[in-house]
């Protein structure tokens, strides 16, 4: 006779298929303290740049039947906006890569933060 399967596969107190009983006891899997470093996952920028300039350019295009020659100002402002953004990102990426700390900077990259954390480690 084969009880084993039926006995052990039933949702009893001992196996993990039992329904969860409140309150769930807390298990400390990791030590409850801050880590020494931060990861770089939150560094991705979540914004669409030059939306205003693009909207103005589209409005001009619509007016002039998509003739670029008549919207030179709008096109130039859109392109300078994108170029400025690229330059800014390039500079901040380079500084971030090297971990150069700029005094008074509000938003830090993870490398800059890690540099600071190494210098001033979190107290136990």
């Amino acid at each position: 006779m084969r009880f084993n399967t039926t006995l052990f596969s039933a949702a009893n107190q001992a196996n993990s298929r039992r329904p969860q009983k409140d309150p769930v006891p807390f298990q400390m899997l990791l030590p409850l303290e801050l880590g020494k470093t931060v990861s770089g996952k939150g560094d991705k920028l979540k914004e669409a740049v030059c939306m205003q300039e693009m909207a103005v350019m589209f409005a001009c295009f619509k007016k002039t039947e998509f003739n670029q020659q008549e919207c030179l100002n709008e096109v130039a402002s859109f392109q300078t906006c994108f170029n400025n953004y690229n330059d800014k990102m390039k500079l901040s990426r380079e500084q971030g890569r090297k971990g150069i700390l700029v005094p008074g900077e509000k938003t830090l990259t993870h490398r800059q933060l890690n540099k600071l954390l190494r210098r001033f480690p979190p107290k136990k």
Partner: protein
Amino acid sequence: MNFNSRFLNKKLCNYHFRNCIRWFVVQNRLYAKATSFPDFFQNPIFRKEDQAKLIENSELAKLAAVPVRPPASYETCSVYHDPLVNKVINHVMEMGKKQLARSLVEKAFENIKRIQIERYHLAQTQEEKNKIELNPKSILYNAVENCKPLLQLSPIKRGGITYQVPGPITEKRSLFLSIKWLLEATNDKERTVHFPEQFAWELLDAANNTGKVVKRKQDLHRQCEANRAYAHYRWQ
């Protein structure tokens, strides 16, 4: 270009381990992978205009002590060397047949010159004559400039639906698309029409801000405008 740039400080120190000098020069690799030269070898600056610019900015001293790759055979300081023409020749080239590609592009230039000179002599007044551009190279420059798209559509998947999201385009990619479209429009021809003939017509049309390729660019802009509601999906 950004992907290829790297800081040289460490590498050069290893290379010249005797006297470790700190250089602050960024390497821009123009080729896909390191060839027989290590990455930190600088690309040669072979055009006199670029050299003059370096002297003006007093950046020549920085480069003086850095190892430099020898220039390729097509990288000359000749007055006939033109970076855009060289780029177009490379786009026309198939299977490494550069001489053929070069002869085709030069033949197209000759055709442009002939067409424009004919127009010049047909023009009645001096005003009309002054308007006609006779230099094929400047026609090529105008044509490529007029065909450059300002925006691009990139597919972004959100909630199981792929949206075509408009966004800004880099200078390099827009140049690539411009040349590619010009060549695609040229190759879309009757078998009896030869490449240089058709290419000359396409370039003249594009330089005049008309024709197939400019229409293709405007169509892309139209599509971007139609999809502008999705523009905020960028970088999310």
